[in-house]
Symmetry: none
Subunit: 302 residues, 2 copies
Amino acid sequence: MFAQVIECIPNFSEGRDPEKLQRIIAPFYEDKEVKVLDFSQDADHNRAVVTVIGTYEGLKRTVPLAAGKARDEIDLRKHEGAHPRMGAMDVCPFVPIMNADMDICIRLASEVGEIIASDYKIPVFLYEKSASSPLRENLAVVRKGEFEGMKEKMLQPEWKPDFGPDQPHESAGATAVGARMPLIAYNINIGTPVLEIANQIARKVRHSGGGLRYIKAMGVALQERSIVQVSMNMTDYTGSSLYQIMEMVKAEARRFGVNVIGSEIVGLAPMAALIDAAADYLQLENFSLNQVIEARLLEPEE
Amino acid sequence: MFAQVIECIPNFSEGRDPEKLQRIIAPFYEDKEVKVLDFSQDADHNRAVVTVIGTYEGLKRTVPLAAGKARDEIDLRKHEGAHPRMGAMDVCPFVPIMNADMDICIRLASEVGEIIASDYKIPVFLYEKSASSPLRENLAVVRKGEFEGMKEKMLQPEWKPDFGPDQPHESAGATAVGARMPLIAYNINIGTPVLEIANQIARKVRHSGGGLRYIKAMGVALQERSIVQVSMNMTDYTGSSLYQIMEMVKAEARRFGVNVIGSEIVGLAPMAALIDAAADYLQLENFSLNQVIEARLLEPEE
């Protein structure tokens, strides 16, 4: 058991070659203070999401090494996929889980960003709770223009990176590093091949379109299944819940005469987010997390 | 943090003296691999229900010690109460919760039963999933005759105990030990004051009426709220799930033009039962308990 647990979820722009991904994340397996909890690759998104937990020092040692491997393995000039991206290690958030607070994660993000920039000549933007200006809090704003537009974007003084060169790495682009609260990647599949329907549902559900405050959403085509997906990031599940999202997406889908045919949680989610969804669906009265047997085991010892 | 979680719910024939109960369950507090989650005493039943969780080894060490304390503290010859009973530690089920399966609990029940019999000269019957014959699966059948009738009952060859002497302990009687699935007490509230509607829904939902295999149900009036309740015991949530129950009760309620207005889980429930309900409602594809961060913190170290 680690004395401290910080979660780290690096996203790499490699969704199709499992061996490449293993080479990229090898440093995490080689450190005793880091544990790989999960990784998944999505061919349509052409993206890998990796979740590790570790101590401050363990993550400080290994995350820059993985960023370096990603620089060597991934060439953004040849990369295409449904998911927006600007770098080989596209984004890397640090999340406080146990015996670590947001300030510690902000400090870790800054140290890791500095090492990535100096060791691998990759420009690093600090985002979310680590952002050096309000403009950089939102990852989508930081990443706008993507790899192809980054060179021109970085000519603007307000897009000078926090660390590293003033232009993107020629093959590895730029990387966003930051600290944030737990995030849930949640996708709802819609039984139609029409991408525009997923786009319209996404627009209504997300905060920027007038929808739920802590939801980012976009439409994605899952071509091999001939369906579409409302692909979402939940930035605070205690504010905008899984139940609210599902009910809102179902209601929007009905407007088009189409149905929700499934959903998926990509990577990890906190227990409370799922228990809340069960409690909402079941209309549970007076329910407490203390009634969950396993939750009692995680309580601090008396 | 335990690498393995088995739940154990010993019932003691002592419902009126809190100090006696504390002396009986003291061994659970003294073991690092066991944690007391809950205990309650009922004076009318003259019975205590204790819930502990622990590892295989922790429970194997402590449950026999508690059975020994109960033998010393409780004299069945002077015991009266509304609840049927045959022993000082009357019954003790072991329940798989995490990183433990039914086979492990069956083995643990058998080992614990053997220790109780040899260390304290108390006859032990294995019941439920541990039963050595179909006749012994049902606790009510094993206990029939209670303490007062046990001596004569045990003269019959089919009621020779699985472990220990062929007659009850003179003051501590006999004990039933076994393995079973977690029980969940789950009630669904219906927005009508008409008890007959809850009774009819209960009849359709429960196994005995042609409904779900692992559900017992009955109608109950909640007079102070002017509503009724379908009160249920779930005997295997992996077989008959919360989602199935809720959808079936909703469908039955519709036949009467009434609605589900809420539900409640009484006492404890395993995380998986609630996560399953969330997964069913959300139509989650390819979801695993390993995606729950807290579940990963509870898993054994590699």
